[in-house]
Structure formats: structure tokens, C-alpha cells
């Protein structure tokens, strides 16, 4: 195409080929870091003219940013509560795309000698949880409450465990970090957080199925964003390929 002097301007305006468009902004819960990192690559392979910008943080933080008018196209939360908080900004209906379970983790060196859940209530244990406003923080407290009702655990189990709390983190990855560094004696995180890399630095203490909490992850297209591209991204997440990625990263199907 012979554009001459205005060539530069024309190219900048998209004349003669694909001009790069604004990146697709995806707000996703911190626990989705690895899984969505991979799904992003799948999406970008299928849509070569688009890039994805992932904003990863505690769902409560993302919901607050959205409520304050942040620009985003997709929101994937780790619980229904924070999706509900921004319901008015969603185009269509949120879709549940994954589930998760909780596990307790301790540093590989296990300084407090925790081998079963009862040990979490030992006085002096350094327990780190996410803050109650964070999905995994609320789920953790929920699970502790359920364990207290289990006949195998004392009735004041939840209270005694929470007395051992030494820090409330703002997202699940911060809890992971404190345990991984050996500063915390124990933490409660998602099953999906125990990646192959992390498994080298921590030991897992399972939470029985009966008392465990199912975390439901909804994803939604945001009305104020690029809804067409957003729907394409959600389609990738809910596709068999997307589900395979999520399964590989420790998530359960919805």
C-alpha cells in the first residue's frame, strides 16, 4: 500500500494491517495465578491480536477496585460473596467455573511438630490465616467452625486455634509465603496452592472431607468493558481446554 508521507499516521491508525488493540483486563483471585497464567496463553494463541493483562489480588481487593470504577473486562472471584458485591457491574450472569478445597500446610522442617489438625490448637503455635474479608480467610474460619462440631475435635477447637493467630494476610499467596519461609508454624490455604514447587517447602495436613469447605469460583463479563472479547475469554476458561488447565493446577470442576 503506497501511503507516502502520511504512511506513519496511517499505520498508526490501523491502515494496512492489524493495529494492536487495548489489552483485555482480567481481574482474578490470587489463587488463580498459575492457572490463569496458562489460560491467558491459550486465549492469546486463539486471538493473536489481543493481549491479556492479569490483575491478581485478593478477591475483596478486586471487588473494591471494581466498585470504585476500575476498568476491567472480566472478573473471576474466589467466592460468590465478592461477585455479588459487584453484581450491578456484570453483563449477563456469572458462571461457576471451578471449585477448590482447603488444606492446612506447615513448613517442611515442621518446627511445631504438626502432624494432625488437633495440633493446630496447641498453645503457642504460630498460625497464619488470610483476613476474614479474603475468601480463603472466610472459608478457613468456616472450616474451623465445622471441625469444632466434629465429635473427634473438642467443642472449643475453633476458638483455641484462632487464639494462635499471629497474622492476618490480605491474600492466600501471602499465607503461603509465610509458611514457605518457615516463619509461620501453620497456615490454611487452597489445595490448588500446593504446587509441585511449593510441595518441596511445605507439608500438607489434610482437612477431612466432611468438615472441609467447597470454594466456588464464579467468573463474569463486566458490562463496562469489551464484552465481546471478554465473552471469548470466559469461553476459553469454561472450555474443555480451560478445564484441563484448571484441573492440572489443582482445581475441581464446577
Amino acid at each position: 500500500m503506497r501511503c507516502g508521507y502520511p504512511a506513519i499516521l496511517a499505520v498508526a491508525l490501523g491502515c494496512g494491517g492489524d493495529a494492536p488493540r487495548a489489552p483485555l483486563t482480567v481481574f482474578a483471585a490470587a489463587s488463580l495465578t498459575d492457572a490463569f497464567g496458562e489460560i491467558t496463553l491459550v486465549y492469546e494463541r486463539q486471538n493473536p491480536d489481543r493481549t491479556v493483562r492479569l490483575n491478581l489480588a485478593g478477591s475483596q481487593q478486586l471487588a473494591l477496585q471494581l466498585a470504585q470504577g476500575a476498568d476491567a473486562d472480566v472478573f473471576a472471584s474466589a467466592d460468590l460473596r465478592w461477585m455479588q458485591h459487584v453484581r450491578s457491574r456484570v453483563a449477563g450472569e456469572p458462571v461457576a467455573f471451578a471449585r477448590n478445597r482447603l488444606v492446612a500446610i506447615v513448613p517442611a522442617a515442621n518446627p511445631a511438630g504438626v502432624t494432625s489438625l488437633e495440633h493446630l490448637s496447641r498453645p503457642g503455635l504460630r498460625l497464619v490465616l488470610a483476613a476474614a474479608a479474603v475468601p480463603v480467610g472466610a472459608y478457613s474460619r468456616d472450616a474451623l467452625g465445622r471441625l469444632a462440631v466434629d465429635p473427634r475435635f473438642p467443642t472449643d477447637f475453633a476458638r483455641r486455634v484462632l487464639e494462635n493467630l499471629v497474622s492476618e494476610e490480605e491474600n492466600v499467596k501471602a499465607v503461603v509465603a509465610k509458611v514457605q519461609l518457615g516463619e509461620a508454624d501453620a497456615g490454611i490455604v487452597y489445595a490448588s496452592d500446593v504446587t509441585a514447587a511449593l510441595a518441596r517447602d511445605v507439608r500438607v495436613v489434610e482437612i477431612p472431607e466432611a468438615s472441609n469447605v467447597t470454594a466456588t469460583y464464579p467468573i463474569a463479563v463486566l458490562a463496562a468493558g469489551d464484552t465481546a472479547a471478554a465473552r471469548a475469554f470466559v469461553a476459553v476458561v469454561t472450555s474443555p481446554a480451560g478445564r484441563a488447565v484448571l484441573a492440572r493446577h489443582g482445581f475441581r470442576p464446577p
Binding site: R126, V134, L165, V166, S167, E170, L181, G182, E183
Partner: protein
């Protein structure tokens, strides 16, 4: 031409003032006296405020006690490796706070370099109030040492010579000449260090953690509230800004205090 220069300076100053004042004003305008009083009545908020004041004052004391001799050394002597020490003392100023927090964990954490030694001594830093003081002192140190050193270095050599002819001892010279003359810089440095310690967040939350009553200082309390209750966060921010501003203003007014005039009389 002079008018143009004056206008340019006026515009620049006005723009800077606007940049700094508007966000602060926006904070104050978003909240109401009723919301402020309600927040101040919450025990969690009072805890955070008390913790902030105690830890920042403690951190400033640590920084002054350790920093004044260091600043004197840097200002009056040369020694091998001085440039390294210089750079190191200024490092926390440019280090991202979270990075500093991580570094503190790796040094003084239970699994850190000095972890074993500290455990033996019975000293625990992560997840404790003492850890908050350490994190704040780490980040605030350069804000005191730099102006303090500059103030000491600025003392005119002839005053030092005069002091030497009177008594001669370095101690005498320091306490009777250097200290009074560099006091304004010292106090300005202490104020900046105190303000930096008060506002410290990243290193605190990473190294000392976040627990109400033990490590949740005001900035952490604001951050936590921000996730669920914006109005409460704004009210807390206003309290923090007001307290910080009051102390900085207080130190600005110090020159009119009697002890200042006496020190100044030496000039």
C-alpha cells in the same frame, strides 16, 4: 523578564501545592465529624493509633541513638569503605518496603541468618510489636542520618578551631559547639524519620505481620478497612493525616521556642 520569572515560580508553587493539598483535602471532605468520632470510639482503631504512636516513637529513638554517632562519623572522618557505608545507610530510602520486609525476614526471621541466635536470646521479631519497631527503624534510618550528617558537616570549621583553642577535647567540641549548631538539622531529620516510621506499611506487614493490637498499625488498619468499609478507611486516614500533620507543624514551630533561641545565640 523578572515578572515572567516571578510568574513561573508562582505557577510552579501553586501546582505543587495543588498536587499535595488536593488529595489531602479530598480525604477530609469525604468524611464527617460524626464518622470520625464513631471511628475513634472503636477499640480496634484506638489500638491501632496507640500502636502506631508507640512504635514510631520507639523506632525514632532507636534511629536517633544509633544514627547520631554514625552521622557524626560520616561527617567528620574518612575511612576505608566509607562510600559503601554511605550507600548502605541510604539504601532503605530507595528500597521498596515489601522488599525490605522480605530481607528483614530472611535476616532476623526464625529461619533467617540470625534466627537461631535470636531464639537463643529469647528475642522474637516476626509477628511482634518489637518487629514493627525494627521494620520502621530500618525504613526511617536514612531520613534521619542524611540531614543530621549534613547539619554536622555544615558547622563552620572556625567554630571547631575556636573550641579546640578553648578546651580541645572532641567531646567538649561536640556537645558545646557541634550539637547546638546542628540541632535544627537534627530535629528536622528526627521529624522526617518519625513521619516515615508512622507511615510505614510494606515492611511492617511483610516482616511483623498484621494482627490487631499487636502489629496492626494505623496504615495497616486503613489498608484492611479499605477492603470492606471505604468510609471507615477514609476516617482512619484523616486521623492519621491529622496526627502526622500536627507533629510536623509542631516541629516547624519549634524555632520560636525558648531553648532554640538560646542555641541559636551561639551564632
Amino acid at each position: 523578564m523578572r515578572l515572567l520569572l516571578a510568574a513561573a515560580i508562582a505557577v510552579a508553587t501553586a501546582l505543587l501545592f495543588a498536587l499535595l493539598a488536593l488529595p489531602v483535602a479530598a480525604l477530609f471532605l469525604h468524611t464527617s465529624p460524626r464518622e470520625l468520632i464513631r471511628q475513634l470510639g472503636e477499640p480496634v482503631v484506638l489500638e491501632a493509633l496507640r500502636l502506631s504512636l508507640v512504635t514510631s516513637t520507639g523506632a525514632t529513638l532507636v534511629v536517633v541513638v544509633l544514627g547520631l554517632p554514625a552521622a557524626y562519623l560520616l561527617a567528620t572522618r574518612s575511612f576505608p569503605g566509607k562510600r559503601m557505608v554511605d550507600a548502605l545507610v541510604n539504601l532503605p530510602m530507595v528500597l521498596p518496603p515489601t522488599v525490605a520486609g522480605l530481607a528483614l525476614l530472611l535476616a532476623f526471621g526464625r529461619a533467617g541468618l540470625l534466627g537461631g541466635a535470636l531464639e537463643v536470646l529469647g528475642v522474637r521479631l516476626p509477628f511482634t510489636t518489637l518487629g514493627v519497631v525494627v521494620a520502621q527503624a530500618f525504613m526511617a534510618a536514612p531520613f534521619f542520618v542524611a540531614p543530621c550528617r549534613a547539619g554536622i558537616a555544615a558547622v563552620e570549621p572556625r567554630y571547631l578551631d575556636m573550641a579546640k583553642t578553648l578546651r580541645g577535647g572532641e567531646g567538649y567540641t561536640f556537645f558545646r559547639v557541634v550539637l547546638p549548631l546542628s540541632l535544627p538539622s537534627l530535629l528536622a531529620g528526627a521529624a522526617m524519620a518519625w513521619a516515615r516510621a508512622l507511615g510505614e506499611f510494606g515492611a511492617t506487614i511483610t516482616f511483623a505481620g498484621n494482627l490487631a493490637g499487636r502489629t496492626q498499625t494505623m496504615p495497616l488498619a486503613v489498608y484492611v478497612r479499605l477492603q470492606t468499609d471505604l468510609d471507615a478507611a477514609v476516617a482512619l486516614s484523616v486521623v492519621l493525616v491529622a496526627v502526622a500533620f500536627a507533629l510536623l507543624l509542631g516541629l516547624q514551630l519549634a524555632p520560636v521556642m525558648p531553648f532554640w533561641k538560646r542555641a541559636d545565640a551561639g551564632r
